[in-house]
Symmetry: C2
Subunit: 760 residues, 2 copies
C-alpha cells in the first residue's frame, strides 16, 4: 500500500486544488444564491486586497479604488437613471401631444414648447398658438365642427394603436423581460434569485423605448414602476464594470437595492421616499452601508433629473402642490372614508387583476398578446377621447386634481361662482358656491373614475411595460377630488351645522379639495401596494410640509387595514405568487406549530437521502449519483452507517471539479476514488490516482435539529439567506430542508397549492 498521490507529487496536487477553476462560485439560471457564501467570498477578496495593499504603492492605490468603487457605481447609476428619466419625460410629452396635433415651426416640439416660442401668447390663451395645429387643421383645414372632431378622434386612435403595436412588437422580438412593472421580479432577484437577462442591456434599452411608447399611447398605466426596473438595469450594467460587484451576487444585490431607490427617486422626485421604498418594499438584505449609498444614488439621480428639467419648472417633484389652509379635525372623517375606499379598491383590484392574469396564463388568451394589447388600446382610446379627464395624460390629470384653485386657475374644476364685490387676492380664496363648470367636471370625473377602475384591471399584466402607481393614484385622486368638492359645498351651504360651525365661518377658505385628492391618491396607492411609511414620505416630499402628514397617515393606515382584511398580499406579492417565484417574504409571519422533521426530505416512505461518503466512492459512483438525481447538492457523511455529517457539496461544483480533473489532472479515471478528507485514504498499490475534493466541500453546512420549530427555521432561512439546511438528530444526519421545501410548506399551511412554487 503506497500513497497514490505521490505519483504526481503533493506540490502538483496542491496547485490544482488551490487554483480556482472557472465558473466556481457562479450559479445557474433560475437558482437561488447562498448569501452566507457570497458574503464570505467578499470578505476573502477584501482580506486579500488589504494584505496586498501593504506591499506597494500601486496596490495601495488599487485598494483605495476598490473601496471607492461603490460610490463610483452609485454616481454612475444616479447620472444614467436621472438622464433616462428626463429623456423619457420629454419623449412622452412630445408623443402624447403628437396624438392631437403637430408643431409647424418644429415637429419635435410638444404643444407647450411650441407655444412657448409664440409671441402672441397671453396667459389665458397659452395653449393656443398658430404654430400648433391639430390634425384636422393640418389635413382638412378645419378646427371646429363634427368632421374635424371625428378626424381628430380617428387620428388619436390611430396614433395610440401605432404606439401600442410598436411597443408590444419590440418587447416580443427583442426583450420579453421588458414587460410588466418589473417590481415583483426585482423583489425576487433581490431576495437572492438568479434570472439571467432580466436586468440586461437589451432589457434596459427596449424597456426605455417601449415605456415611452405605451405611456404615449394613452393606456391606463404609469411609468413609475418600470422606471425602478430601468434603474435596476442601470445598476446591473454599472456593477459589471467592477469585479467586486460583477463576481459576487450578494454585493451586486446591494447595488441593485440602491438602484431601486434611485428609480423611485426620479419617478416622483422624492429621494428620501425612494430610499424608504427600497427599504420597505423592494429590498431583502439592506445593510446600513447600502442605506447610505442608496441615499447618495437617489440624490444624484434626482439632481440629474432636475438639471434636465423636463417639467420646465425647476421642480424636483412630479406633482408640486402648495396649499394655503390647514386641515381641521372634523375633516379626518372624510379622509378615513377615502382610506376605506382606497382599501376596498386595492383589494378588489388585486383580486380582479390576478383572476384575469391567471385566465391569461391558463387559457388561449395568452397566445395572442399583440392582439390583446391592440384591443385594450383601441377600447381605451375610443372611450378616453370624448372625456377631457381621460384624454390627457394621467399625470397631468393627477396634477390638476391635486392643485388648489388659485385666482388664476383656468381649469373647469375651478369654475366657482365669484363674488363680484371681492378684491382678488392671489391665494386664500374663500369657499364659494360651485359653478356649472364644477358640476360638469364632477360628472365627467365620475365617468372617468369608473372607466379607469375597469380598464386598469385589464391593462396591468399585459406584455408591455406597465406601472401601477399612476393609475392607482389617478383613481384615488378622482374619488378624493369629488369627495373634497362635496365637503366644500356642504360646508359652504350649511356652515351653521355643528360640524362646520367651529372652523368654517362664511367667507373663510376652509376646505381644500386638492388635499382630498392627494389623500385619496395615497389611500388607493396604499391599498394596492400596501406601502405605508414610504408612501407617506413620498407624499410628504411632494407637498413639502409636515402639516398634512396626519391626514395622509390616517388614510394610508385605514386603507392598509381595510385591504389586509381581504387578503394580506399586495399586488407585487400576488404577482410573485402567481408566477411561482421562490420569494420568502420578510413580512409574512409564520405562526404554525410544525417542526423541522415535518418538512424535511426524505419523508416517511421515500428512498433515503442521497449522500456522498467522505471516502470510498469512485468518480463513477459520484457521476452516477449526479446523473440519477437532480438535487442541487449532496451532504457528505463519514460513512453510510454512522451518517455523521462532514459537509455539503454543491452539484454544480462537483460536476465542474470532476470535469476539470478529468481534463487537467493526470490519472483521474472513472475508477479513481474520490475523497473529502484532509489526507488521501489508503489504497491498494495499483489503484488509479485518487481525486481530492475537499476544496469544494462546504465544511460548515447549516444544521438544525429535527425538533427545531419551523418558525425558527423560516427565520434562519430569511435572515441568513440560506439555500438549504441539514436536519440532524443527536449528531446523525436525518434529512435536508431546501428553500423550496420551506416555501412549499408555507404555501401548504396557508391552504395554497404547494406545487405553485416552481423554481429552485
Amino acid at each position: 500500500v503506497v500513497h497514490a498521490g505521490a505519483m504526481s507529487g503533493p506540490g502538483n496536487l496542491m496547485d490544482f486544488l488551490d487554483e480556482p477553476f472557472p465558473d466556481v462560485g457562479t450559479y445557474e439560471d433560475f437558482h437561488t444564491i447562498d448569501w452566507l457564501r457570497e458574503k464570505s467570498r467578499d470578505t476573502d477578496r477584501h482580506r486579500k486586497i488589504t494584505s496586498r495593499s501593504r506591499e506597494s504603492v500601486w496596490e495601495f492605490v488599487k485598494s483605495l479604488l476598490d473601496a471607492w468603487s461603490g460610490w463610483a457605481v452609485m454616481l454612475l447609476i444616479g447620472l444614467l437613471a436621472g438622464t433616462l428619466a428626463g429623456v423619457i419625460d420629454l419623449a412622452v410629452d412630445w408623443m402624447t401631444d403628437l396624438k392631437e396635433g403637430v408643431c409647424l415651426s418644429a415637429f419635435w416640439y410638444s404643444h407647450e414648447q411650441c407655444c412657448w416660442t409664440s409671441n402672441e401668447t397671453t396667459f389665458e390663451d397659452r395653449d393656443r398658438c398658430p404654430q400648433w395645429q391639430t390634425w384636422s387643421e393640418l389635413l382638412v383645414n378645419r378646427s371646429e365642427g363634427a368632421s374635424a372632431y371625428v378626424l381628430n378622434y380617428l387620428m388619436y386612435i390611430l396614433w395610440a394603436l401605432l404606439f401600442a403595436f410598436l411597443a408590444v412588437s419590440l418587447v416580443r422580438v427583442f426583450a420579453p423581460y421588458a414587460c410588466g412593472s418589473g417590481i415583483p421580479e426585482i423583489k425576487t432577484i433581490l431576495s437572492g434569485f438568479i434570472i439571467r437577462g432580466y436586468l440586461g442591456k437589451w432589457t434596459l434599452l427596449i424597456k426605455t423605448v417601449t415605456l415611452v411608447l405605451v405611456v404615449s399611447s394613452g393606456l391606463s398605466l404609469g411609468k413609475e414602476g418600470p422606471l425602478v426596473h430601468v434603474a435596476c438595469c442601470c445598476g446591473n450594467l454599472f456593477s459589471g464594470l467592477f469585479s467586486k460587484y460583477s463576481r459576487n451576487e450578494g454585493k451586486r444585490r446591494e447595488v441593485l437595492s440602491a438602484a431601486a431607490a434611485a428609480g423611485v427617486s426620479v419617478a416622483f422626485g422624492a429621494p428620501i421616499g425612494g430610499v424608504l421604498f427600497s427599504l420597505e418594499e423592494v429590498s431583502y438584505y439592506f445593510p446600513l452601508k447600502t442605506l447610505w449609498r442608496s441615499f447618495f444614488a437617489a440624490l444624484v439621480a434626482a439632481f440629474t433629473l432636475r438639471s434636465i428639467n423636463p417639467f420646465g419648472n425647476s421642480r424636483l417633484v412630479l406633482f408640486y402642490v402648495e396649499y394655503h389652509t390647514p386641515w381641521y379635525m372634523a375633516e379626518l372623517l372624510p379622509f378615513i372614508l377615502l382610506g376605506v375606499f382606497g382599501g376596498l379598491w386595492g383589494a378588489l383590484f388585486i383580486r380582479g387583476n390576478i383572476a384575469w392574469c391567471r385566465r391569461r396564463k391558463t387559457t388561449r388568451l395568452g397566445r395572442y398578446p399583440v392582439l390583446e394589447v391592440l384591443a385594450v388600446t383601441a377600447v381605451t382610446a375610443v372611450a378616453a377621447y370624448p372625456n377631457p379627464y381621460t384624454r390627457r395624460s394621467t399625470s397631468e390629470l393627477i396634477s390638476e386634481l391635486f392643485n388648489d384653485c388659485g385666482a388664476l386657475a383656468s381649469s373647469q374644476l375651478c369654475d366657482y361662482v365669484s363674488d363680484p364685490n371681492m378684491t382678488r387676492p392671489l391665494d386664500d380664496i374663500p369657499d364659494r358656491p360651485a359653478g356649472r363648470g364644477v358640476y360638469t367636471a364632477m360628472w365627467q370625473l365620475a365617468l372617468a373614475l369608473v372607466f379607469k377602475v375597469v380598464i386598469t384591471v385589464f391593462t396591468f399584466g399585459m406584455k408591455i411595460p406597465s406601472g401601477l402607481f399612476i393609475p392607482s393614484m389617478a383613481v384615488g385622486a378622482m374619488a378624493g377630488r369629488m369627495v373634497g368638492v362635496g365637503v366644500e359645498q356642504l360646508a359652504y351651504h350649511h356652515h351653521d351645522w355643528i360640524v362646520f360651525r367651529n372652523w368654517c365661518r362664511p367667507g373663510a377658505d376652509c376646505v381644500t379639495p386638492g388635499l382630498y385628492a392627494m389623500v385619496g391618491a395615497a389611500a388607493c396607492l396604499g391599498g394596492v401596494t400596501r406601502m405605508t411609511v414610504s408612501l407617506v414620505v413620498i407624499m410628504f416630499e411632494l407637498t413639502g410640509g409636515l402639516e398634512y402628514i396626519v391626514p395622509l397617515m390616517a388614510a394610508a393606515v385605514t386603507s392598509k387595514w381595510v385591504a389586509d382584511a381581504f387578503g394580506k398580499e399586495g399586488i407585487y406579492e400576488a404577482h410573485i405568487h402567481l408566477n411561482g417565484y421562490p420569494f420568502l417574504d420578510v413580512k409574512d409571519e409564520f405562526t404554525h406549530r410544525t417542526l423541522a422533521t415535518d418538512v424535511m426530505r426524505p419523508r416517511r416512505g421515500e428512498p433515503p437521502l442521497s449522500v456522498l461518503t467522505q471516502d470510498g466512492m469512485t468518480v463513477e459512483d459520484v457521476e452516477a449519483l449526479i446523473k440519477d438525481t437532480d438535487y442541487n447538492g449532496f451532504p457528505v457523511v463519514v460513512s453510510r452507517d454512522s451518517e455523521r455529517l462532514i459537509g455539503f457539496a454543491q452539484r454544480r461544483e462537483l460536476i465542474l471539479a470532476i470535469k476539470n480533473a478529468r481534463q487537467r489532472q493526470d490519472g483521474v479515471v472513472s475508477s479513481s476514488v474520490t475523497y473529502f478528507t484532509e489526507e488521501p485514504p489508503e489504497l491498494p498499490a495499483n489503484s488509479p490516482q485518487p481525486l481530492k475534493l475537499r476544496r469544494i466541500v462546504n465544511l460548515s453546512p447549516f444544521t438544525v435539529t429535527d425538533h427545531t420549530p419551523m418558525e425558527t427555521v423560516v427565520d434562519i432561512f430569511r435572515k441568513l439567506g440560506l439555500r438549504q439546511c441539514l436536519v440532524t438528530r443527536s449528531g446523525r444526519l436525518l434529512g435536508i430542508i431546501t428553500k423550496k421545501d420551506v416555501l412549499r410548506h408555507m404555501a401548504q399551511m396557508a391552504n395554497q397549492d404547494p406545487e405553485s412554487i416552481m423554481f429552485n
Copy 2:
C-alpha cells in the same frame, strides 16, 4: 425493575410538567436575552389567543384588544413623551431666565412671557419691559454700572451652582441611572441586554427633573440625548400595562425602539428623522412592523408637543429657518472644509472625552462627583457670563446662528453697513459690507468656540444627565457662521474674482451665512455620532426643503470619512466599550480569518466542557455541577462517551425546576435520577421518584461545525440574537461559544483588551 413514575401516576406527572412554574422565561440582571426564544414564546402566546378567539365572543374581543395593544402603547408613549418634552422646554425657559432676573407680575413667567403681556412693547424693544427686573434692579435698584454687572454676574453663578448641585444630588440619591445621555445604555439594552431599573419610573422622574436643572444651569450640554432616554422610560412604563410586552423581553424592545424614535421626534421636531435615527443609530432588531409603529409614536409625540407649543410659534421644529437664496457649486468647497473641521473635531472630542472618562473611572477623581459637577459648573458660569454668545442658552445661540439676516433682524450678527438709498424689501437683502457689530461678534464667537470645545470634553460623562447633540451643533454652527461671514465678505469685496464672477454680481444676495452655520452643525454632529442619513433627514426636516440636501450631505459624508480615519467608533460606541457592555455592533465588520474552533471553549489544556447527560445523573450531581460552575447553561448529551448533542439547558431554569420539584413533587430527593428523555430510564425498584426535566431543555440548540469561519458565527450571533452556540465536529459536541466569547475574540482581533467585556 418497574416504571418508577407509575407511583404518582403519569397524569400527575404531566400536570406538573405542563404547568409553567414562576419566573421561567425571565432573565437575571446584567444578562443577555435569547431573541429566538423570546420570539417563539410570543408566537406561542399568539397561537393560544388565536385559537381561543374562536371559542367565544369575549375571547374574540380580547384577541382584538391584544392586536391593538401595540398601537395603544404607541399612542400613550407619544402623548407622554410629547408632554414631558413640552414641560421640560417650558421649565428650562423659565429657569434659564431666572438666572438673570425675575418677572414682577408673575414670577413663573419667563423673560419673553413676562414682556408679552406688557403693553408698551415695540418690536425693537421687545426684550425690555418694566415687569422684568434683573437681579441688580430688584436688589439694589441699579440697572447699569460696574456694581450692577458684578451683582448680576454673581447671581448668575449662584443660580447655576444651585441648579447643578440639586441635579447631581438628586441623581446620586434617587436614581444613579439617570446620569449621562443614556444612548449607549439604550443601544445595549435594545441589543438584548438586561439592566434592571435603567428604564424605571424613578429614572424617568429624576431624569426629567434633573434635565431641567442641568440645562438651566448653563452647563455645556443638551437635552436631546436624555430625551431619548426619557422617552424609552415612557416606553418601558407603558409596556408594563400589557402582558404581551411586559412578559416578553423581545417584544418589549420593539416598543423601546419606537419610543427612541419618539424621543428624537420631540427633541428636534423631526418625526421622520427620529424614526431613521432609531433605525440607523439605536435599534438592533427593527422589523417593518416596528418601523410603522415608530412612525406613529413619533408623529403623536410631535403633535402633542406642537399643541403644547413651548416655543410660542406653532412650529414643530427646534430651529426653524427659511433661506431665500439657493447655494452655488463653488460654495461646496467651504462646505467640505466645514465637513473636515467637523470630522476632526469629532475625532478629537471622542479621544479627549474617553481619555478623561477613563481617568475619572480609574483615579480618585471619580470619588467626588458632586464636587466635580460644581467645579465644572463654576468654571462654565464664570467663563460664560461675560460673552453674550455663551451666556444665553445654547439652543437660542444655535437658532440665532442658523437664521439669515432679514431686514428686521436686531442681532449684532446682522449689523451690516446698509445702503441708505435702498428701499427695504423684507427678504432678499443683497450682500453688504460687515459693520462693527459683525466684527465684534466674530471675536466673541471665536472665543465662545474655543471655550465650548474645551469645556464640553469635561462636561459629557459627569454624573448628571447630559446630551451631546446641542453642544456639538453649537460648535459647528459657530465655526460655520464665521466661515460663512468670511466667504460673504470675500465675495462682496472681491466679486471680480473668477470664483465669484459667475454667481455673485454686486447687489445680489449670494452668500447665506446661516446656511454655513447649519452645514457646520451637521458636520460636527456627524463627526461625533457618525450618523449620516438620519442626520441629513433631521436637518432636512429643520429647513423643510430639499434644496440644501447636497451641502448637508457633502459636509456629513466628509465629516464621517475624516473622523473614521482617526477611529471607527462614534461617541456612543466608544462609551459602550469604555463601560464594557456586551454590545455586538451591526456596523462593525469582522474580517479576520479565524474559525469557530479558535474561539470556542474549552480551549486546549482547559478541563472538558461541563455537560449534563440525558439520563443517569442524580439531582445531587446536577446541583453539584450548578454549584461548581458559573456557566449560564449546560449542553445535554446522550452520554459522556459519545458526546452526541441532545439539547441545551439554562442554568436558571435548572435551578428553578429542581427547587420547584423538591417543594411540590413528592418523592424527589437528592438521589433521584434526572432524565431529559421522553420516557423515564429503567431504574431499580427501590430507587426514588425520578425527575423529568425534558420540559426545560431547548431541543433545538444552535450548532455550528468547528470549521465555520468566525465571520459567519458573528453574523449568526448578530442576526439571530443568540446567547450561545454549540460547536460540533461530525456530530460530536466539541465546545461552546457564548456572546461574551465572541465579543472578547473581536476585541482581541482589534488589539483591544478582551477583559474589558464585563457582563454576560
